[in-house]
C-alpha cells in the first residue's frame, strides 16, 4: 500500500462518525458486540478478550452539527461532551452495545450519569481508575474493577474472559504498543518522514478497528514512511501537551506544522500508549494489567502525581525527543489540562525550556491567531538557538 492510501484510509476511519467500519465488523459474524470508551484510558485488552470490539469515542470534532448536545451543557463546559451526546442522541452510536466512561474528569464522570438518564437501558459504566499506586491497595481495587468489567461484558453477550484469552489479548496489545513506540521513535528521529498529523490519524484509526488490523496498518505505514524521501524542513522541534481528551481539529495540527514546528511528541490519543511498555504476559493477567496501570502509566493530568515531581516527565520527554520547546494546547474549560499547566510550566522554567500556550475547541475554525503564535514561537526558538 502506498503511504497516501494508508493515510487516506486512516483519515476515513478516524473521522467516520457513522462508524461504518464498526458496523461492518459486527455484521461479519453473528453475535458480535462493540463497546465504546472515552478518553483517556480504558483497558481495551479486557474488551478484546471478551471477543468484543473496543471503540474509542473522541466526540464529533469539527465534523458534526450540534443540535441536541448544546441543550445539555452550559457554555462554560468543554466541547467534547456536547458532541458526544450529539453522536448518541442522533443515533450514530447505535452500533455500540455499551460505553465506558473512565475517571478522566468530572465532566466525563457526570456524562456517565447523563447517559443513564438520556439512554435508559444502554450499558454505561464509569471506570474508576485507581489513584493509589500500592499494589495491595490500588492494585487490588483495580483488579476487582477489571473482573467486574469482564463479568459485565459477559452479561452483555461477550465471551467469558479467561486467563488464557486475556493473556492472548495482552500479547496482541503489546505488539500494538511496540509498533506505536516505533512510530514515535520515527517521529523523533525524522519528523519529516512521520508528521504529527499522520501519526494522529493512524492512532485515531486504531481506536475503531480490531487491534490485529491496526497492527498491520502500523507495519505498512512504518515501512512506507521509513523508506520515504520526503525532504527534511528547517523547522523547530516541539512537544505538544494538553490535548489528551478533546482533540484539536486536524487543521490546527497542520497549522502548527506549517508555522514551522515539527511536533515530535504529543499526548493525543493517549490510550494507545498509556502503558509505557509491555504488560507482562505471564501470571495472572488481570493482576498484570492492574499493576501495569499502577506502575507503567504515563504521567498525565488525570492521574495523581503521588511522589513524582510534577513536570519531570515532560522535561524528560522534551530531552528524549531533542525538542526545543513545548506548545501547551488545551481545550477551553478543560480542568485537568488547565489546572496542570502551571505546574508543568514551572518545571519547564526550572529546566530553561521555552513554551507557548493557547486554548482551542474541537470545532474551532479560527487558525490565524494560532498560526501567528506558533510562527512567532518557532522564530524565537530559532533565534535563541543561534550561537
Amino acid at each position: 500500500m502506498s503511504l497516501e492510501s494508508i493515510i487516506a484510509e486512516a483519515e476515513r476511519l478516524a473521522f467516520d462518525l457513522e462508524f461504518q467500519g464498526v458496523k461492518r465488523w459486527k455484521e461479519a459474524a453473528p453475535g458480535r458486540r462493540a463497546i465504546g470508551y472515552m478518553p483517556v484510558y480504558a483497558p481495551r485488552e479486557v474488551i478484546h478478550a471478551a471477543g468484543m470490539l473496543p471503540v474509542g469515542i473522541f466526540g464529533g470534532g469539527d465534523r458534526i452539527e450540534i443540535i441536541r448536545g448544546d441543550a445539555c451543557f452550559q457554555s462554560y463546559i468543554c466541547h467534547i461532551p456536547r458532541s458526544t451526546v450529539e453522536l448518541a442522541l442522533s443515533g450514530r452510536l447505535g452500533c455500540l452495545d455499551g460505553m465506558l466512561f473512565p475517571s478522566t474528569c468530572d465532566v466525563i464522570r457526570n456524562l456517565s450519569g447523563m447517559w443513564k438518564i438520556l439512554l435508559p437501558g444502554f450499558y454505561a459504566r464509569y471506570l474508576d481508575l485507581p489513584q493509589n499506586f500500592d499494589r495491595r491497595v490500588g492494585g487490588r481495587f483495580h483488579r476487582t474493577e477489571l473482573l467486574a468489567l469482564a463479568s459485565d461484558l459477559a452479561l452483555l453477550g461477550g465471551a467469558p474472559v479467561t486467563e488464557e484469552t486475556l493473556r492472548a489479548s495482552i500479547a496482541l496489545y503489546n505488539e500494538n504498543r511496540r509498533r506505536v513506540r516505533a512510530l514515535f521513535d520515527l517521529r523523533r528521529r525524522s519528523p519529516h518522514l512521520a508528521p504529527a498529523v499522520e501519526a494522529y490519524l493512524l492512532l485515531r484509526a486504531g481506536c475503531v478497528v480490531p487491534v490485529e488490523d491496526h497492527n498491520r496498518m502500523l507495519d505498512a505505514y512504518l515501512e512506507a514512511a521509513g523508506a520515504g524521501d520526503r525532504p527534511a524542513l528547517d523547522n523547530c522541534r516541539v512537544v505538544l501537551r494538553g490535548a489528551f481528551c478533546e482533540t484539536p481539529p486536524l487543521a490546527l495540527l497542520r497549522t502548527i506544522e506549517r508555522a514551522g514546528c515539527d511536533i515530535v511528541d504529543d499526548d493525543l490519543v493517549l490510550v494507545s500508549r498509556w502503558i509505557r511498555d509491555d504488560v507482562p504476559e505471564a501470571g495472572d493477567p488481570f493482576e498484570a494489567l492492574a499493576h501495569a496501570y499502577l506502575e507503567r502509566s504515563v504521567a498525565n493530568a488525570c492521574r495523581y502525581a503521588g511522589e513524582e515531581e510534577k513536570g519531570a516527565d515532560l522535561v524528560a520527554a522534551v530531552r528524549q525527543a531533542g525538542a526545543e520547546g513545548v506548545i501547551f494546547a488545551a481545550p477551553s474549560f478543560c480542568d485537568p489540562a488547565l489546572l496542570d499547566q502551571p505546574m508543568l510550566v514551572a518545571a519547564l522554567e526550572r529546566a530553561g525550556i521555552p513554551y507557548t500556550a493557547f486554548k482551542y475547541s474541537e470545532d474551532t475554525g479560527q487558525f490565524q491567531p494560532i498560526r501567528e503564535q506558533a510562527g512567532t514561537f518557532a522564530d524565537s526558538i530559532k533565534l535563541w538557538s543561534q550561537p
Partner: protein, 437 residues
Amino acid sequence: MTRERAAKEPSMVRQKELIAGHYRRLARAREAGEAVVYTFVPGNLTELLLSFGAAAVLPEINALQSGMRGKSADYIARAEKAGHSEDVCTYVKCDLGMSLAGNVGPTGEPIPRPDLLLLSYTGCFTFMKWFELLRQQYHCPVAMLHVPYVWNGEVTPGMIAYVVDQIRSEVLPALEKATGRRFDEADLSRRLALSARAEDDLVWVLESARNRPSPIDAYFGGVYYIGPMFSAFRGTEEGAAYYGALRGEVQERLQAGRGPITPEGPMEEERFRLVVEGPPNWTSFREFWKMFYDEGAVVVASTYTKVGGLYDTGFRHDPGAPLESLARYCLGCYTNLNLPSRVDLLERYVRDYAADGFLINSVKSCNSFSAGQLVMLRELERRTGIAGGFIESDLVDPRYFSASNIKTRLESYLQMIAQKRLEAHHPPAAAAEGRAS
C-alpha cells in the same frame, strides 16, 4: 433594618464564635505544637484529625469566607496573573491568591503552613490538582485518599475495602508522622458517637422544613447550620452542643408557627417553597438571599447542604465500626453520587417537602456540580410534572454574578408558579378577572 445590622439567629452568633475560635486556634497552632492538616470539606475526616490532636484547615471554607468578605476578586486576579487559567474553578484560584497575598485568614490572623495535605479525593477532580499545586508551594507530604465514585447508585464492599485500606496504609501513617502520636481507635469512636448525636439534631433541623411555614431556610440559612458539621466541629462536645441548641431554637420557632430568620428579621409570609440544587454565590450572598425572601420564597431543601455529608437518608457515623464508617461517610457525600441518584434525591425533596418548584443555581466554577445539570433539570421536570428554574452564577468570582439577570429570572420563575397556582384554583377566565381587579 440596615445592611450593617443584620438579624441573626442565636445559633448564627454561636457559630460565628466557634469558627472564630477555630481560626484563633490555627493561628496559635505552631506555638501550641499542634500539627496543621489541610483537607477538603467533602470526605473530611475531622474526627480522625481531632483524635490525633491535629488542627484542620479547609481551603474551600477560606475561599468562601474570602468571597463573603469581598476579597476573592483580588485573590483570583492574583492567581490569574500568576498563570492560572480564567477557565478553572475559582475556589482554587481564590485560595492560591490568598496565599500569594500572605495567607491571612478571614479573621485577620495568619493561616499556618500545612504539615500534611490530606487529599480527601471525594466527589471533585479539582481537589487533586489543588493539592498538587499546594504541594509544590509548601513542599510538604500529601496523603491521598481516593474515594471511588458511586457511579451505579450502589456502595460496594470493594469500594469500602479500598477506602479503609487507604486509611490504614496511607492516612494513619501520615497522621502519625505529622503529629508524632499513635492512632487511638477508642478516642476516634468516642468522637464518632458525638458526631452521630450532632447528625441526629442536624437532620431534625433540616427536616423541620417539611412544616408549613418552614421554620428554616434550608439553603441560605442551611449553609450556616452545616458550618460546624462540615468543618472542624464534628466529633466535638462543642459541635454536639451547638446542634442541640440549634434544634431547640428551631423547635421554638416551629411551635410558634414562625418562619425563618432572614438578615432583615423574621420572614413574614411563606409564599413559595423551593428546592435548590447547586452551591450558592458567596460574593453577593445577602443580595442573593434577599431576592428570595423579598418574594416570600423559602428554600425547604437543598443539595448543597449535603456536600460535606448526606445524613437525611439515614447515614450516621458509627462508633462501632470507626474506619468503615469513615469510608461510608466519604462515599456518601452528595457530589460523589451519580446523576440519577442526585435526581432521585431532588425528586424526593420536591415531594417530601411539598415544594412548589425547584431551582438550579449552576456555578461556573464547578464541573462536579454543574456538568449535567440541564439534563437533571429536564429529568426532574419529567418526573415531578413541575417546571424548574435555572440560573447561573459563580461561587466566589463576582464577575459571574449578574444580579439583574438572576433577579429577573427568579422573579419570572416565581410569577410562573403563582400563575399556575392561580390557574389550578380558578379557571383562567376567573384568574384574569382577579388580576384585573
